[in-house]
Symmetry: C2
Amino acid sequence: MNQQYPSALLEKAVNEFAKLPGIGRKTAMRLVLHLLRQDETTVESFAHALTTLKHEVKYCKVCHNISDTDVCRLCSNPQRDASTICVVENIQDVMAVENTQQFRGLYHVLGGVISPMDGIGPSDLEIESLVKRVEAGGVKEVILALSSTMEGDTTNFYIFRKLAKCNVKLSIIARGISIGDELEYTDEVTLGRSIVNRTPFNGTN
Amino acid sequence: MNQQYPSALLEKAVNEFAKLPGIGRKTAMRLVLHLLRQDETTVESFAHALTTLKHEVKYCKVCHNISDTDVCRLCSNPQRDASTICVVENIQDVMAVENTQQFRGLYHVLGGVISPMDGIGPSDLEIESLVKRVEAGGVKEVILALSSTMEGDTTNFYIFRKLAKCNVKLSIIARGISIGDELEYTDEVTLGRSIVNRTPFNGTN
């Protein structure tokens, strides 16, 4: 049954919200009615933030992370170790690694992973620019920090092949059981891998 | 730990989304990045739909439902039975009752229910205008269709008192076990009420 909206303007706003991923029509309605209860400035600043973002946002020329400037805060920071590049899938992953405070190098945002099912090939990603970055020199290590999925593994292998001729150390983030996980409930592939890739124990790690 | 956003514009857009009810920072980030992947027209039409709604939407002078015109589609429809008014809490409830296709009368949107805890008194709601509507004549029945909560019941009783002196039939939507419910799992208050308020059975209802 087609829902009858009392107002075409309301319906339009609900439709726009419902286009967002994970937002159904009921949630969209709730969000729109919430905004409708706010004063005009609030709604305008919401709309303004979105259009400004779309118009003015830039992508860092070096690492392809989102940025307000041509070269992002991280890439232009002399305190960061430019000889180490951490390769990630997207912007959220940069933030996730940054939040660990365990990495002081620079990033390279691929913009996705190779996924033939979704029609995403190597040329759709920032792989060529990564190779150029490494070839330009000064990079000692490239850390692959992609998701532990088939697509992530394919992409890792593709980058491995592409960087094979470069004189650079290539490493991959450790995969194993999560901190706090119980062995009993860990899937056997992860557990198997964590046994194969065991690391020397020094009493604290 | 405070998350470091790579772009102030991005952070602002995420903040705006995160102000919406039920949207956390992670979801907000996902929605903003989704919009960022769309082309400019999509983002602009999203923003435009919201500001237009806020600027141009009206509330029906008669029933206080949201509307594009001074008097809404329902109130200005001569096919609807103007002698019956269904009192509801909000706009969604009008849509919910409309969707049942069981009601051909008009509505009256209170804009909430009496809730001392939230500081909402009778004067914050469209109760006075309901009384005036009834007093103006032509209304035979007022159907109370508020939520079956303490606040809803308080509001029902308040309206009952206010309309006591008017010559109008006052009814309340049936409360009982939901269609498809099993007795075993029905709460005892509902079950008790549905026994007290049992209706004559004609073989089909």
